[in-house]
């Protein structure tokens, strides 16, 4: 079943177009940074700041940091939101379910393939950032200025060797994927509710927007730790690039993501296995 679904999705241009676009973003950033502001320090989240042209290995971090606000949630919502609603809008869902396979297996294989594309999206950003960055600025150690401990009198900085940077970048990419899980699960749930892929995709992106908007209301701090998408949660990975690493929010963020994702996915399965399919 997973193979069937994978072959189907690989034949659709949507996945390739999305991956191509996210691969292009780090390249464009390399060009912009290389042409206009190579020696300017770029800020990463709350913890670190890097000087771009000191090493190509800064580029994947800058790309991830720039894309996690909107483009990555959008890409993930596209993959998750298209799954069931895409079939419904083509009118092929009822024929798909006519095969002698339980609905839960159909849904599971769609979820696995969509999740695979989502993982591929982040991997493509990292690879494209590393390749583009190293070609432009070389394979050097990176010095990260620790913004939380730097004062007027003292610059707190840590230097990471190139292989250490790659390892930490992979850890950061894995964490960023985890923070996208609630958006993925919500778009997937919506996809089982609606027959319009656009609604599911927009709803998934909408979750991250509403959540961030609520996160930024002064006076609602009590709510922030329990929201699915927050500024501090999605940038907690920047703490990996200080020495010692600062991982205060990491575990909490992962638990919150797991709870939301499980909730939305269970809702999707419960709904889909009982829904009256008319499309």
């Amino acid at each position: 079943m997973i193979g069937v679904e994978l072959v189907k999705q690989l034949h659709r241009p949507r996945g390739w177009v999305t991956l191509g676009l996210v691969a292009a973003v780090p390249i464009v950033l390399v060009l912009v940074v290389g042409l206009s502001r190579p020696t300017v320090a770029e800020r990463l989240g709350d913890y670190g700041s890097v000087v771009t042209n000191s090493s190509g290995l800064t580029l994947p971090l800058i790309a991830l940091s720039a894309m996690l606000l909107f483009l990555l949630p959008l890409a993930v919502a596209v993959f998750a939101g298209e799954t069931v609603a895409g079939e419904a809008s083509w009118g092929s869902l009822r024929y798909l379910l006519a095969r002698p396979v339980p609905r839960s297996r159909v849904l599971a294989s769609k979820a696995v393939v969509a999740a695979g594309f989502s993982v591929a999206t982040v991997v493509v950003v990292v690879v494209s950032g590393v390749v583009g960055g190293v070609l432009a600025f070389g394979w050097h150690p990176v010095t990260v200025v620790d913004l939380q401990h730097t004062t007027v009198f003292h610059v707190a900085a840590a230097t990471f060797s190139a292989p250490a940077m790659v390892l930490r970048t992979l850890a950061a990419a894995a964490f960023i994927l985890a923070t996208l899980a609630s958006t993925f699960a919500f778009a997937f749930f919506l996809s089982t509710l609606t027959t319009r892929p656009f609604s599911a995709v927009a709803g998934g992106v909408g979750l991250s927007l509403v959540s961030r908007a609520l996160d930024n209301v002064p006076g609602l701090h009590a709510l922030s730790p329990w929201l699915p998408v927050t500024d501090s949660g999605t940038t907690a990975w920047t703490g990996f690039f200080t020495s010692p690493p600062q991982t205060t929010d990491v575990v909490h963020t992962l638990v919150v993501q797991a709870v939301y994702s499980a909730g939305f996915l269970i809702a999707a399965f419960v709904w889909f296995t009982r829904s009256d399919i008319v499309a």
Partner: protein, 280 residues
């Protein structure tokens, strides 16, 4: 014709729900603040303004307007503008509406006017509800605001505003925010004439705020040159009224920018709609 349109929109649950949600937001915000620490300092905006909410009820409208102007108010405005024409098309009633002996331009102007009035009511509702809720919770006192940018560890830059002055500033600030919503309003209205699905028009309008936020030099290197031309970026400049001396630089530029966006989007909507082949 305008009256007919008002009655039609008012009967739609969407209108009432949007208004109710915005009013409830201010009330919930007040309750949340008083329940979780009205005595602690809140950082408001990019300045930042440091406010202790419990000292005056008039802090609540400042916080409420700050926290809705970047997403919730654009959403409300996009709902009213995006629904206007696409809502009729979605119901399949647009062709019958246009069969009446009224020019399309007049019909479009009516839709525009009603959606605009509803949007303005939505925007005004936030500070008004917040003033009422805040005053009930924290009283009608002078508002003390610390300028977080100018203050240091040893020296606080404090400004004290009388209630009447705060109300005056809030009035101007609300007008400024309302003007800042107009690019989103006009873009949703344009999309509303293009599509037959209201949701698409609403989402498209909200996407303008996303564009503003993505092309922000805080996140993306090399886009600082674009920042002054983003439709929703400088909607927070009214917060500079509450520093001493008040700063108004950039506001005129932003208002002119809004006018340009509105003229382009509404012009396109008008050109498109008077010639369009209406199928629904």
């Amino acid at each position: 014709m305008i009256w007919v349109e008002f009655k039609k929109q008012w009967r739609r649950p969407r209108t009432v729900i949007t208004f109710a949600a915005l009013a409830v937001f201010s009330v919930v915000l007040t309750v949340a603040i008083s329940a979780t620490g009205s005595g602690t300092v809140e950082r408001v905006g990019d300045v930042p303004l440091l406010i202790v909410p419990g000292t005056s009820g008039l802090s609540v409208p400042v916080i409420a307007l700050s926290s809705t102007m970047k997403f919730f108010l654009p959403l409300a405005v996009a709902i009213f503008a995006g629904e206007s024409v696409a809502g009729e098309a979605g119901w399949g009633s647009l062709r019958y509406a246009l069969a009446r002996p009224v020019s399309r331009a007049a019909y479009l102007a009516t839709k525009l006017f009603v959606a605009l009035v509803l949007s303005l009511v939505a925007i005004v509702l936030i500070p008004v509800a917040a003033v009422v809720a805040g005053t009930v919770a924290f009283g009608w006192h002078h508002l003390v605001i610390v300028n977080g940018a100018a203050s240091t560890a040893t020296h606080q830059v404090v400004a004290n505003f009388s209630p009447g002055l705060v109300l005056g500033y809030l009035g101007v600030a609300t007008a400024y925010v309302a003007a800042g919503m107009m690019s989103i309003f006009a873009f949703s209205f344009l999309l509303s004439t293009l599509t037959t699905r209201p949701f698409v028009a609403v989402a498209g309008g909200v996407s303008l705020t996303i564009v503003s936020r993505v092309f922000n030099s805080d996140y993306l290197p090399g886009v600082a040159v674009l920042n002054p031309y983003m439709p929703n970026n400088d909607v927070d400049l009214w917060q500079n009224f509450f520093v001493r001396p008040a700063v108004t630089s950039g506001m005129a530029h932003f208002l002119v920018l809004q006018v340009v966006y509105v003229v382009v989007f509404l012009g396109a909507a008008w050109i498109w709609f008077v010639r369009k082949d209406i199928l629904t």
